[in-house]
């Protein structure tokens, strides 16, 4: 598939717009899901995913064909989404670290009252609950979690997409997973 995508990109670079259609339809759900995981509502996720594809098209000449297209595309999508989150809620929490180097310290970082009460949980779709709990994580954890669990990307690729060291990706995944473990325990 990657080879086929590369062929299509060559056509797009030559100016053949219709070749882009297959690219969009191939990646649409992945990009949409990543945005959705990060922003938490479907309307905005669609808006961001659309914008990501349009930007990728406009800037297609800056895409290095030796690299993986999805890495580049996901990078555009996550950057746009992070920007949107910042504009929406420019408070400290977005960039906040979940402090501590391991899961045990997470307990002190995440107040117990943020977890949903059990009765409320039962009335909600499990999907909604999971998303709500993801939304309780700082944005930079969300992006790592989204990439890791939407497309099951390897840590190295996530590191390239988000332009952060692999070690940082690892830490964020561990902490994010630890936080979600605690929050989803009762689901």
């Amino acid at each position: 598939m990657e080879a086929k995508i590369k062929e299509m990109i060559k056509s797009v670079k030559k100016g053949d717009q219709s070749a882009y259609e297959d690219i969009v339809s191939f990646y649409q759900s992945k990009v949409y899901a990543i945005c959705y995981r990060m922003i938490g509502n479907s309307h905005e996720a669609e808006d961001l995913a659309q914008e990501a594809f349009i930007r990728a098209y406009v800037n297609i000449h800056s895409f290095d064909e030796k690299k993986k297209f999805s890495t580049w595309l996901y990078r555009i999508a996550t950057n746009l989404t992070i920007d949107r989150i910042r504009k929406k809620k420019p408070d400290f929490y977005l960039d906040a670290e979940v402090r501590g180097t391991d899961g045990l310290d997470m307990y002190s970082q995440l107040p117990a009252e943020q977890a949903l009460p059990e009765e409320e949980v039962e009335s909600l779709e499990i999907q909604t609950v999971i998303q709500q709990e993801i939304m309780n994580l700082p944005a930079k954890y969300r992006s790592v979690i989204a990439l890791r669990f939407v497309d099951e990307l390897p840590l190295a690729e996530i590191s390239e997409i988000l332009d952060i060291p692999v070690g940082t990706v690892k830490t964020r995944i561990h902490r994010g997973r630890e936080a979600l473990r605690k929050r989803l325990r009762h689901v």
Partner: protein, 204 residues
Amino acid sequence: MSCDKHIVNLMHNYLDGDLTKQEEQQLRSHLQTCQACQKHFHELKRTLSLLKGNSDIQAPTNFTASVMSNLPKERKRVSYSRWFKAHPALTAAAIFFVLMFGGIFSAWDQDNQLSYPKGKNLVIKDDTVIVPEGVVVDGDLVVKNGDLKIDGSVNGDVVIINGDHLMASAGNISGEIEQVNQVFDWIWYHIKDITKSVFAFTNK
């Protein structure tokens, strides 16, 4: 939950597929003896399956169409060339037409000399080519810039370009006779000619 955080790290590394055989053994033997860590590990795995289990989020319908309609317009040249690719026969005709126009016109202009096939016992009188009585021309006969009078016979088609077939003549033509006297006739003649050879080629 009083275990070494090292064990929790091992769990996460395990889930990332990032554990040496030795570390895996260490984790395994700890989990066999420690209930708290067992529970922790189980919860982590469950969290993962929850996250992965609903990763089938689909883009809204019409997503692709909506992206496509919001893209900046592509350059005209490309849409033409795509149209050409989609319509190869028409494209061939169009390209042929463009290329040939120049060539045909110049051929028409430059070439005012009487021309006829040599070595067929034809008689030339002024600008008239005569197939004398008793002479049989085998194959097609093409005469340019002159009239043609057939007293004998032609076993093939006759084409007269920029000239007349002198009807007084009473010879035999086994094929068709065609007169080409205008520029457009001339072009048409060429197109038919080339089309025939193209088809002959593609039919092979």
